[in-house]
Amino acid sequence: MRRFIIVLLASLVLGLSPARAAHTHVTLLLAADTARPGDTVLAGVELQMDPGWHTYWQNPGESGIPTQIKWNLPPGVTAGDIQWPLPHKLPPAEVTTYGYVDDVMLVVPLKLAADLKPGQPLTLEADLTWLECQDQCIPGKTNVTTTLNLGPQNQPSTNAALITAWQQKVPAPVNPAEWSLHATWETPAQGDTRPLILDGQYLGAQDKPLAISAVDLFPAASDNFEIQPAIDLVPTSAGHFRLRKTVKKFSGDWPAAVAGVMVLGTSTGPANYEIQLAVADVPASSTAVAAGTQTPPAIPPSDAPTTSLALMMLYAFIGGLILNIMPCVLPVIALKILGFVGEARSQPRRVRLLGLTYAVGVLVSFLVMASVVIGIKAAGHQAGWGIQFGNPIFVVSLTTLVLLVALNLFGLFEVNLGGRAMDSASQLTLKHGYSGAFFNGVLATALATPCTAPYLSYALGFAFSQSAAVILLIFFMVGLGLAAPYVALSWNPAWLKYLPKPGAWMEKFKIAMGFPMLLTMVWLFNLAAGTYGSQVLWLGIFLVLVAFAAWIYGEFVQRGRSHHTLARVVAAALVIGGYVWFLEGQLHWRDALKLDGSAVSRKDGPDGIDWGEWTPEAVLAARQAGHPVLVDFTADWCLTCQVNKKTSIEIPSVRAKLKELNAVALLADYTHAPDNITAELTRHGRAGVPLVLLFPKDTAAAPIVLPEVLTPGIVLSALDRAAN
């Protein structure tokens, strides 16, 4: 009877208002008692739950609501994103959730502005809302405050160790040098669900194979789809896992990327990493299997990695092939074909050897680049395709080199790399000795890098996250692709019969080819201008001196009848003097001038798109304010990016569309390859620019990744999709 009355009373109360939260105790702690302006102080919001009660992770799972923190901070203090410690996967199976039992500390970095003035202690305040559940669920709400002193010294608080300990439970981003991860749709969609395969290959110490006993993916929250909690682990070899997850779609397209925390049980203990993976389409090899309605769960241990490696090698080869017709490489190739014309008929054997030498030049250069990439990765840095163009020493050297090649084509001086100085047009073809052919291969490679051909970026994006052997292999394939047409032609000179007979035209053609080379130099010079600003004038003067020296050398040393020594001395004096005086003295060419004004001239004319500077926070803020976001990852040295911008982004229709959708445009400048942008590119599976992303305003939706080469139609229709 008493029980009945209590229940009756309870149900009456329930009819009026929900029960008050009383099972979670919240405290706000700081890692410092006193901090300096400019410091970042870790705040820890600790939630202590009564036994049996739990609160939720950022993705609550199939029910529940994530804990939310709304900060009220004084001016000059900004809160970062919540860093969520690894949650528990909570039963029951039919409604699985991700949450915390007993206690958890949500860690939030608080950034203090550098111009804060010491004085009154800062009052830091946060409003918390959460849902706590046991047999029933109760919404909780509270307000917590604490104070922070400003001073000349950072004084850690007694809670610093506790906060740091919780922060260590926050999954760190996965190290691509340690794990190679891939997400692939296993089959086409079956209704609203689709099986997703996550493949992981451990790349760490290979002498002790890593046994993987458990794998799960705790997915990031999303509105349009859900990665279901059930796990289906496909048996594979040591150091490799293959996890099948079912994705259920609520609306929109199938996600192009999945994100979350990879949770592993291994022979060296548990490990968890934050991951974000682009989802590849159904692998070609398995579509046949998947054609049936039901795929047996035990598919044979993966041959997918090998298939995709083979595919990537093919892409690399095709990409290398396409590089040949890129504007930066074409003059060099044209020169080589010129070289064939004379010799093909008389010396087929020599032509073949020259072809091979050229190929070796290309391949050695690519392998050197691969080694550099491996070296950079081993040193724990981010590497990307084309980053050498962010290095001023490389740019200045290449500009000078390209100028010399142009002058050589104009006939100002001759190159005697082959050991024989030739000066008549009739002997032109013989001039390119073996070392000349090798040098041409190196030059073609150096010039090829700014032109990332389509296909190549996929292969390179893949390669940059792989083991050293795979990087070497992919780079080797690109080199092979670049060298292939020349080698093929040198092997079958018969194909050259369509070319006109050698003669005086060749000398004119050679001079004509000097002009695209000059154009390349102008482009490189413009690149240097991005680094040195108006100081680039000194580089221009240096280049003129070098040109003058080249003429003196050609005219008086190579072709002159007397005063050879004097001419040599004058030419050397011009080059050395120009270098010491202008490059070292005036330009300080080895110290790149970091131009802070980069954000100033972002707007391309009065009607241009109003580009903001890219940061992950800016993207999130704009989306939270309800704007779709266009991000253009670009670099001054990336020709494809510039072409995309001119043809498909900075055009009236796209400008109008951006205005109409109230979209925010952000520019990520990769010219000097900052680590944070390299990391972002890697997250989207790219090794370099171009990359254009469209973030729907819905913050949970995955970004739309645009293809390498854009058309106005692609951009406009993607904008429409992002707005919906």
Binding site: V7, L8, S11, L12, L14, G15, L16, S17, P18, A19, E62, S63, G64, I65, P92, E94, V95, T97, L131, C133, D135, Q136, C137, I138, P139, Q190, G191, D192, T193, D223, E226, Q228, A230, D232, T246, K248, K249, F250, S251, Q294, P296, P297, A298
Partner: protein
């Protein structure tokens, strides 16, 4: 043998997920309502039926009723001939379980305007429809096919006025009545997990 078991459980899992697919016939069920009256889904053939996974102890569900927004919608839809069934799948041991007496009291104090409150203590209907949260809603078209499943609206809050939100159930029913295709057929349901029997 192990492989076979794994295969069978996978098929079973797949079958359970495919039990309620948009555009497919909604599975039939029988149940008893809180007044002891038997209810069969197929009794309402040629009517639009709304199923709501219900537990008013869940603050998300509670807010729809405490504000009167759910009752208002139920009354409006009832006037258009729509049937609305509450499905209470809370297990008997849970503190949120309602005996028929308690349920009738709650029905009266909340002035619920649904057609019936079904006792699903066993979780039979809840599992059949793979109901995840309270509230989790399903709209069945006149031809017996599933037209919508997911959240009540686009506002996952346990306080404030739900009338300010876009209500997916209202939109789906209005489209069906107008003979238009339903624009949003699936959303992720929000709220507390359903407290099923073990």
């Amino acid at each position: 043998m192990k492989k076979l078991l794994a295969f069978l459980s996978c098929v079973a899992l797949a079958a359970s997920t495919f039990a309620v697919d948009i555009g497919k016939p909604a599975p039939d069920f029988t149940a008893t309502d809180i007044n002891g009256k038997p209810v069969k889904l197929s009794d309402y053939a040629s009517k639009i039926v709304v199923l709501e996974s219900y537990n008013s102890d869940c603050p998300y569900c509670h807010n729809h009723y405490a504000t009167g927004a759910a009752q208002e919608l139920q009354a409006q839809l009832a006037a258009k001939g729509v049937v609305w069934l509450l499905v209470d799948s809370v297990n008997a041991a849970n503190s949120s379980h309602r005996t028929p007496v308690q349920a009738r009291q709650e029905w009266a104090s909340f002035k619920i305007k649904a057609t019936a409150w079904l006792d699903d203590t066993s979780g039979k209907i809840g599992h059949l429809y793979d109901m995840k949260t309270t509230p989790h809603l399903f709209v069945i078209a006149k031809d017996g096919t599933l037209a919508y499943q997911g959240a009540m609206d686009d506002r996952a809050e346990s306080e404030g006025d739900p009338r300010t939100a876009h209500n997916f159930v209202r939109a789906a029913v209005d489209s069906l009545l107008a003979g238009q295709p339903v624009a949003v057929t699936q959303t992720k349901p929000y709220g507390c997990g359903v407290h099923y029997a073990e």
